[in-house]
Every structure is written in C-alpha cells, then in structure tokens.
C-alpha cells in the first residue's frame, strides 16, 4: 500500500515536472502532440470529472477525458468484469450512465426507465427504479431506434428526456419525480433523444425528428421548477431563432436579417428540420453553449432551393437567455443529410504558435472542423475519412467546394457519394486527451447512391423525398478508431474494423488508456499514444454506448459501458429489419450485411475494474 502511494506521488511529481518542461519547450505548431512523457500545450476550460461522472460527457467542454490513472497502460491487461446488469430492453443502448455520490444512474432506451445502483455493495444492487411511462406511440416517430443519450445531474436532481418529449427531473436520492415538462409533440413527428446539459440553473435540451419535417429547436428550462425560460428555433424569423443585436457571425454568408426565412422557398422553414439531437457543450470562460443542428427538411434538395438556414449550423448562445452569439452554417443547402449535431469540444490549445480558444468539431460530413469559439471563424477543415462530396473548405469564405456530380436531384441518382448520410462519423462522441493532444474519433467509412424523389408532407410521417442505399467505402474497412493530431490536422494512427462502423463513444484517461467499443461487441482499451490494443473483451451485444470511468466508494477506479446494439445503423441487427432490402432503414441495410451474423440485440450495463 505504502509502495503504491509512493508510486502515485512519484508519478504525480514526474507528471508535474514533465508538464512544466513540456510547456517551456513549446514553440510552434503543437510540436508536443503525442510525445510520451511530454504534455502538449492544452488548457482545459472546464473542471475535469473528479471521480464522479455528473454530465453526459463528464465535463462541460465535452472532452470525455478523465484524469483518473489507477488503470493505466501497464495494468489494464488485468481488467476484469466486476458487475453487470440487464436493462431487460433489447434496443440500442446509446449514451452513458452517470455516477454521483456512490450511486450509478442508468437511463434505458424507451420506455426510458431510470435505475439507481448502489456502488458501495458487491454486485451493485438496485436502490430504486423510476418509470416515466412515455406514450408508446412515440416509438413510431423515432427515426433511428428508440434510443436515449443520457442525463445530467445538478442540485440533487437527475434530469433527462423521454422519447415522447417530456423532460423529467428526478430526486437523485429517492427516485421521486420532482417535475416534468412537455417540450414537443409526437403528433408532428417530434421526439427527444439527446441528453440535456445543465448550466447553473438552466436545463438545456434539443429535439429530434429531422426526418419527419419537424422544426428543430433548443429550449432552456428552470432547473428548480421545469418552467420553460427560452426557446430558440433553428429556422424561421430572427426573433424565433433568438437572433438579436449581439449576433455576430464571422462570415458574410451567415450575416443578414431573417435568413431562417429568406433562404427557403415560401414557408419551407416551417418544416425545415435543423433538429438538435446531439451533444451540447459549454465553456465557462466565454460563458457560451455550443451545439450543432441537423439536416434541413425535406431530404430532396430540389424541393428547398436556398441555403436553408439554420440547418447544419453550429450555434454559440448565452445559456441564461438563449441569445445567439454567432453561427456558422457548416453545409449550406444540404444534399446528403449531413447533420452536424456532433460534439463541439472546447479547449484552449497551441494553434500555430499561439494559444487560441478552439472549438473542435469532428463532423458527419467527414471533416474535422476547428473554429475559434469566440468568433466562429473556421481555422481548419481537414478530411478524416474518404470524402468526395466536397474537395475542401475555403477558410476565407467558410464555404465548402462542392462537387456538383455528388449532388442529387429529383430523379437523378448521385452515385458513390462519400461519406453516406450516416457520415464519416455519427453522433457517437470523440474524446480529447490533454496528455497526448490527440482527438480519438469513432469513424465510419460508408458511401451511398442517393436519389431525390417527390415528397409528400403528412404530419407525423417521414418527410424524406429520397431513395438511398449505402455500402462500404474504399479501402476494405467500414469502421475505424482514428487518432487525430488536432494541431497538425492529420491522422496519427487508426484501428480499423472490417465489417461494421465504429458506433460507440470514446473515453480518454489520465492513465493514457483510450476505451471504446465495436459494433460487434468488443470492448477495447488502447494505448493512447500508439493505438496498440492492450486489452479487449467481447460483450453480450454490440456497443453503441459511451464508456465512462469513475472512482468507486472503495477508492478504486472503474470503467462502465452499455452493451446493446442499435441506433440508426445498429438497428439492422433487429429482427424487424430485413437485409433483403438494401434501401431499408433509410438505406443503411446495404452497408450492414454482416451485422446479424456478428451480433444480436441486447441491453446490459457492464462495469470493469482491476
């Protein structure tokens, strides 16, 4: 024991010494990226998880980095399963549990039960279960499996969304409902699947339903009462989008009055999509929240001439009022369903010799975007998977250089478009380690044939106008865990999966271990510097959830993850989807030919320790 403490102290001292050494050595272009024993110049802007996991990404900035280092590259090979629990629901288990005060909180897919587990007792017995009983009809308007991406904790409450658009706050001790607020309507195709983020007294949450002509929005609720304080739509007039005098977008393309109306055919914005079903991040230093919006509706681009703002846009807003500070439309006039609702990671980093306030967005469109999070200026956009819809981004205008041959029109099939609608990555979140300077991206390599067809709006049904089929991209693989050097905008290493996309979140730790899962069900620990697989274990079902790490009441470090294949691509494992139709499930079945052979539906929480 004494030896162990001494070891920890020594490691700490070494780390500190090396950290200061690393900083002193700092010169240009993020030179210390991925140098073992040296730390790159990165400043984390939000507190790191302190052994608990109280927010969806562990921290406000969405790094998914935990400084815990009991489990490290030397001993991770001894990792053992120490607990497991079936949720009894064989659907996609996206998102992650929370850990607060020695209790783990598991949120299930529909019917969105909240289960509290006592981490102080062997086997982690259940303390209580809260059942919100969402409307079963909500399952019929959920585009991509009946998933949920987790909760946030603050002020003694666990706050999360049900599929039928209720935001619920549950007493973390008793499991009793404190309040519930309805923020959307399933009858027009709206669902809520994303994890809310709590900033001070405000619960911030988006919606889903971009495939059903839903008008996307984000709302801010009072944490004490659940009362709605603000609502910011993604389309429509400036007053609805909460664009006011403080709105200062960087690029002329995003400047002007009521662009949420004027970039659409008449009334098109009312069914305009731009839903917000991904991750919301927050930077305490600039006091801004960041999130991206989804595809503009309808999918067929010919039916909505114009830029279709604010579909596929990254917004920066004030958390208390929702007022927009800046916006950057990533993809104007989308023709590919490239929702950019992915994580926006806020860090300060050495950027070409100068510390800058960055927002890092690994995108569905296949580019890693790096923005200045104070202004919305695009600093870099580089491809991390095969991409052919655009050649590059012009950093002066913020516009992509689109290949017209890869744009579909009514009755015209755009062939071999890469990436497919499912993207170079999906919503599954990356992790950024301040110890390596690397961004660990769960990536896909899938392409598609995409045809626009006439669409007919019927409330509560899909509003698509598209016929799509997907297939594996070039290079003989479909998934890859990519280690990305942010400062130098290039891939350092990758771990490829031949048959299935990587569809799980990633966790980086102070022990220089990177955890993620494959859709086949392998839960893996990689060396954060080299990508070597140090440990892996095959779990009961494919992994589409996000690993977390925490310190148990016994002082030991643990790692937890859901196993339960599902989500848009993973739902192909369900018996209700036939692989005989390569156009099924919005076209993903063509790319998922082996899934039923490689895994099967399930729903289990696994906990690992040394």
């Amino acid at each position: 024991m004494t030896e162990r403490i001494e070891g920890v102290v020594l490691t700490l001292i070494c780390t500190l010494v090396l950290a200061s050494y690393g900083r002193a050595q700092k010169i240009n272009g993020g030179g210390n990226t991925n140098v073992p024993g040296q730390l790159p110049s990165i400043h984390l802007v939000s507190p790191e998880p302190d052994g608990q996991w109280t927010l969806p990404a562990g921290d406000y900035a969405n790094t998914r980095y935990s400084p815990l280092n009991q489990i490290n590259t030397q001993n991770v090979k001894n990792l053992k399963m120490v607990g497991s629990m079936s949720t009894g629901i064989a659907r996609g288990h996206e998102g992650q549990p929370l850990v607060v005060n020695g209790t783990m909180y598991v949120i299930t897919p529909f019917p969105n039960n909240l289960i509290a587990l006592d981490l102080s007792k062997p086997g982690f017995p259940m303390k209580w279960k809260y059942e919100p009983h969402p409307d079963p009809r909500s399952q019929g308007v959920a585009c991509c499996d009946v998933v949920n991406r987790g909760a946030s904790y603050a002020d003694g409450k666990i706050v999360y969304a049900t599929l039928d658009n209720h935001i619920v706050a549950v007493d973390a001790n008793t499991g009793k409902e404190v309040w519930r607020t309805l923020v959307g309507d399933i009858h027009i195709g709206e669902t809520t699947t994303g994890a809310p983020l709590i900033v001070r007294n405000i619960v911030i949450t988006g919606d889903a339903g971009g495939e059903l002509g839903v008008r996307g929005k984000v709302v801010g609720l009072d944490l004490k009462t659940g009362k709605e304080i603000w609502r910011a739509y993604s389309t429509g007039p400036d007053k609805d989008v909460l664009i006011g005098p403080d709105f200062k977008p960087f690029y002329p393309k995003d400047q002007g009055k009521d662009l949420g109306v004027t970039t659409w055919p008449p009334d098109g914005w009312k069914l305009g999509g731009g839903t917000v079903w991904g991750w919301i991040s927050y930077d305490p230093e600039t006091d801004l929240i960041f999130y991206g919006t989804g595809n503009p509706g309808v999918w067929n681009p010919d039916m909505r001439p114009g830029d279709n703002k604010w579909g596929i846009t990254i917004f920066a807003r004030k958390p208390e009022t929702g007022e927009a500070k800046w916006a950057f439309q990533v993809v104007p006039h989308d023709a590919w369903d490239y929702d950019e609702i992915m994580e926006n990671i806020a860090v300060d980093m050495d950027w070409h010799g100068k510390m800058r306030k960055l927002l890092i967005h690994p995108g569905r469109s296949g580019f890693v975007f790096v923005l200045d999070r104070e202004t919305g200026e695009l600093l870099s956009a580089e491809k991390f998977q095969p991409v052919n819809w655009a050649k590059a981004y012009d950093l002066k205008t913020g516009m992509p250089e689109v290949d017209p041959a890869k744009v579909t029109h009514t009755g015209v099939i755009a062939r071999e478009v890469c990436p497919s609608s499912t993207g170079g990555k999906e919503f599954v979140p990356s992790a950024l380690s301040p110890r390596t300077g690397l961004l660990y991206i769960p990536a896909h390599n899938t392409c598609m044939d995409h045809e626009g067809i006439d669409a007919n709006y019927i409330a509560g049904t899909p509003y698509l106008g598209s016929s799509t089929t997907m297939y594996p991209g070039p290079g003989g693989y479909q998934g890859e865990l990519v280690a990305w050097d942010v400062a130098n905008a290039k891939q350092v290493w990758g771990v490829k999966d031949p048959d299935l996309p990587v569809y799980s979140g990633v966790l980086a730790t102070g022990g220089d271990v990177v955890f993620y899962g494959t859709m086949e069900g392998w839960f893996r620990a990689l060396d954060a510097h080299t990508g070597a697989i140090l440990w892996q274990m095959k779990l009961g079902s494919g992994i589409v959830g996000d690993p977390i790490t925490f310190k148990g009441p016994d002082g030991q470090q643990y790692v937890a993850v859901y196993s339960g294949v599902g989500g848009w691509m993973g739902a192909a494992a369900q018996p209700s989807i036939s692989l005989a139709d390569p156009y099924a499930a919005l076209g993903i079945t063509g790319a998922m030919k082996k899934i039923k052979q490689l895994t099967a539906p399930g729903g289990t929480l696994y906990v690992f320790g040394l």
Partner: protein, 164 residues
Amino acid sequence: MIRRIHMEIALLATCALLLCSGCTQQPVQAAAEGGLPGVKIPVGPIPGPQMEFKMPTNPYEENSVAMEEGRRLFVWYNCYGCHGGHAGGGMGPSLRGPVWIYGGDPAHVFASIAEGRGKGMPSWGTKIPQDQIWKLVAYIETLGTPQEPDAPHVAPDPQVKEKK
C-alpha cells in the same frame, strides 16, 4: 300428416339457420357501420362451429395493375419512410415477412393500415380511401415474390467490384 311434420321440421331448421347466421352476421355489420371502413371482426361469444366466419378478401388479389399502383401509393403516403424503401423495415417493422406482428393475411394487413397499431403505426382509415388501402395490401402481399413491382436489387458493393 307426415308430410306436414316434415314441413314443420324444415321450417324450424330454416329458422334456426337464419337465426344462427344472424348471430354472426349482425355484429359484423354493426361494427362496420360505426367504425372505420373495412374489416371488422365480430365481438362476443359465438357458439360452436359458427365461429368460422369468412374473412374479407382483397378485391385486387392477383391484379398486377393494382400491385403497381400499390407500390406507387406505398411511396406517396410515406410508408417507405418508416417501413423501408422496399418495405424491409426501419422505424416500422419489415413487411417482407415471415414475421407478422398483427397477422399477415390480406384482411389483417388491411386492418393494420386502416386502424393503426399501438406502437406508432398511424390509423389511415380516415385518410386513405378503402380502395387504395386494398391496393397497398395487394403490393405488400407481393413482397419477396416474383410478382413484386420495382423489386430491390441486392447488388455487390460498387467499391468492392472496383478493386477486382
């Protein structure tokens, strides 16, 4: 006399038959009047062999023009958005069989479309004319058979082909 008795027996038998047919037929009509157009199944106890009532059949069975029209309607009414481009499933289940949650014969498929189902299938009985629902049923019954209109082709992956 004997003849008269015979006649009486015959008359009674006829009455009994009429009454019995009333037992089954009446509720069917009553339900159809008050509910959505289409298939109704009698409610309440029906004794003995009289339970074998006749299920409605699709007026467009084996009608290839109606199957084609059903395919068009399947896209037009956004069925393809939930059930997949060629009905292989997605938000809603695959209709390509062999599993039918609520029954796969034409009358049950009609009922699922007209009345909706609890997990999110909308009820279309008041939105789509009965005639068009039967055409949708005619299309759905062809899935995976040689009669299927606009059948999906499971082609080898284009990229894989390129490499050879």
